[in-house]
């Protein structure tokens, strides 16, 4: 199973303050543990939201809004992608992240192929569409 582990933004991350050397060392050690355990698939830090942009969708209309965005707690400052046996294992790893200053982390499971029923595979969806089109054609042909 895969999990997206999101580190929430705070005042510092939004101000573009980089972590101090102690934090970098500890985080490096933690990431090392993740790699050694075969758990870490990816991990990145993000620029502050002031460099970001938001796009809203309504019909054909696109509304573009430049950062920064204000609800700091809703923003993401960095993320990992982990592969673990289950959610409990992801949680146990997350507890070991060397944060101690009020940081917050959110764990979300990534959808896997088997989470969708067979009826949701694109192949089947396409097949259904074809069938529906054929039925429509038949209806038209028979004049109904």
């Amino acid at each position: 199973m895969r999990f997206l582990v999101m580190v929430k933004a705070n005042k510092d991350s939004e101000a573009g303050v980089l972590p101090d050397e102690t934090m970098l060392t500890e985080m490096g050690k933690f990431n090392d543990e993740l790699v050694k355990a075969g758990v870490m698939l990816a991990g990145e830090g993000l620029h502050p939201s002031s460099k970001g942009v938001r796009i809203g969708y309504a019909g054909n209309k696109r509304t573009v809004r430049d950062g920064p965005f204000t609800e700091t707690k809703e923003l993401v400052a960095g993320f990992w992608v982990w592969q673990t046996k289950n959610k409990a294992e992801a949680l146990e790893w997350a507890k070991r992240i060397p944060f101690r200053n009020g940081e917050e982390v959110e764990i979300r499971q990534v959808f896997e192929a088997e989470d969708f029923g067979a009826e949701f595979t694109p192949e089947l969806r396409k097949q259904e569409e074809r069938q529906r089109a054929a039925i429509e054609q038949n209806k038209q042909r028979s004049g109904k």
Partner: protein, 415 residues
């Protein structure tokens, strides 16, 4: 989340290190696992009341270590003839406990490697190696292993008990093999990991074509090994091969669980995160002395497919060259068969058929469904439909996988 789940999770993360550290002290993986299990039982009794400690790994290690020391002392007193054990106690300064914990911490990497090599020791049957590796290194429960291999729990239990007994009886030393031994022992380890992967990737039996959880277990074991033995090119080769193959799992299964073969797969559904990891691992393998071993070569072939945006863009001549190299390194009729497929794609079906017909009567391929399956495909491309249908029917009768059989029958009917 329930305390039991949290303890399970701690076990999964810590058990291999725990067992490995203990095995070095007591010199017996079976006993080490028992001691580690005792510590787990203690955790199950205490943690729901007291809460999970801040450093659960250290807690388990301290608890297990106490038991190990008790055990060694008891053995020493019971049997004074066991001088070497007594000596061991002195040499390793078991009594000052903090030293012991430090000694264990210092050697975690070596201990884990020793554990992997012991679990994959050639004195054990292949089945036993697989079960023991998943259990001791992968941290899987007997139940999980049984479910993954579709066998009763009791079978796996027996397999593990017997394996531990065999290791003890053969006095297999708990160590990383050195010198000339290392290469052949490493081969056994890689073989076990790839076997686990393949059982998940194209299940030899059962109703499902893939069992992704087993693939994940195998890739994870490979990644762990790659960090423990970073200088071994073939370890990275195997990791690369597994990452790239795993990248296709989503695309390999169609509606209703039917298999979709490589060239028909929707490449948009390939997992590009895993492809990137696979290509990086392949680069690591290529940069090391020793370069292309059999796993790295197979990974390089997989990489040709991964790099092609669509089936038509596949670099078949390069794949043929890689199969040529692979056939020289590890000649086998199965590799010839694959080489024939590549030749057919690169230089036309007649070229492929020519090679297939040289291995057709090879006794080791008798009963191998892919031989008639591939031959049938090539014949169909040459317009020899009657012969093709006969071959596909033969292949359908030979495969043990229900999904694959359906696919072959469908192919035959379409001709």
């Amino acid at each position: 989340m329930k305390a039991a789940d949290a303890i399970d999770a701690v076990w999964r993360i810590e058990s291999a290190r725990l067992i490995a550290g203990l095995a070095r002290i007591v010199g017996d993986v079976g006993l080490a696992e028992d001691l580690a299990q005792d510590a787990l039982v203690a955790a199950l009794e205490q943690w729901p009341e007291s809460g999970v400690p801040d450093n659960p790994g250290a807690w388990l290690m301290a608890t297990a270590k106490h038991r190990a020391i008790d055990h060694l002392r008891r053995r020493k007193m019971q049997d004074t003839k066991h001088e070497h054990l007594g000596r061991e106690l002195e040499e390793r300064q078991v009594s000052p406990e903090s030293d012991l914990v430090e000694a264990i911490d210092d050697q975690v990497g070596d201990d884990l490697l020793s554990l992997i090599f012991t679990a994959c020791h050639p004195v054990l049957s292949t089945d036993a190696r697989v079960a023991l590796t998943l259990r001791l290194v992968g941290g899987l429960t007997t139940d999980e292993i049984a479910r993954a291999f579709l066998v009763p729990k009791a079978t796996i239990q027996q397999r593990i008990v017997r394996a531990k007994r065999t290791l003890a009886a053969a006095r297999v030393p708990f160590e990383v093999p050195r010198g000339a031994d290392l290469a052949s022992r490493l081969e056994s380890v890689l073989e076990v990991i790839y076997l686990i992967f393949n059982e998940g990737y194209s299940a030899t039996a059962g109703a499902d074509w893939v069992r992704p959880a087993l693939c994940e277990d195998a890739v994870r074991l490979g990644r762990i090994l790659a960090e423990l033995a970073p200088e071994e090119a073939e370890v990275h080769g195997l990791v690369a091969l597994m990452e790239i193959q795993a990248s296709r799992i989503r695309a390999r299964v169609g509606p209703g669980g039917a298999p979709i073969l490589l060239l028909e797969q929707d490449r948009g559904r390939w997992d590009h995160l895993l492809i990137g990891r696979g290509l990086a691992a392949l680069e690591r393998a290529e940069s090391l002395a020793g370069g292309y071993g059999p796993y790295a070569l197979q990974a390089a072939i997989a990489a040709c497919h991964a790099r092609a945006r669509n089936a038509e863009e596949t670099d078949w001549p390069r794949i043929v060259a890689l199969y040529d190299a692979l056939a020289q390194l590890t000649p086998s009729p199965v590799i010839e068969l694959n080489r024939a497929v590549a030749l057919g794609m690169a230089f036309g079906p007649a070229a492929g058929l020519e090679v297939i017909d040289t291995i057709r009567s090879d006794p080791s391929l008798a009963g191998y469904h892919l031989l008639p399956s591939v031959r049938g495909d090539l014949l169909a491309k040459l317009g020899r439909f009657d012969e093709a249908r006969a071959e596909l029917a033969k292949a359908a009768a030979l495969t043990q996988n229900a999904r694959e059989r359906e696919l072959l029958i469908k192919k035959r009917e379409a001709l």
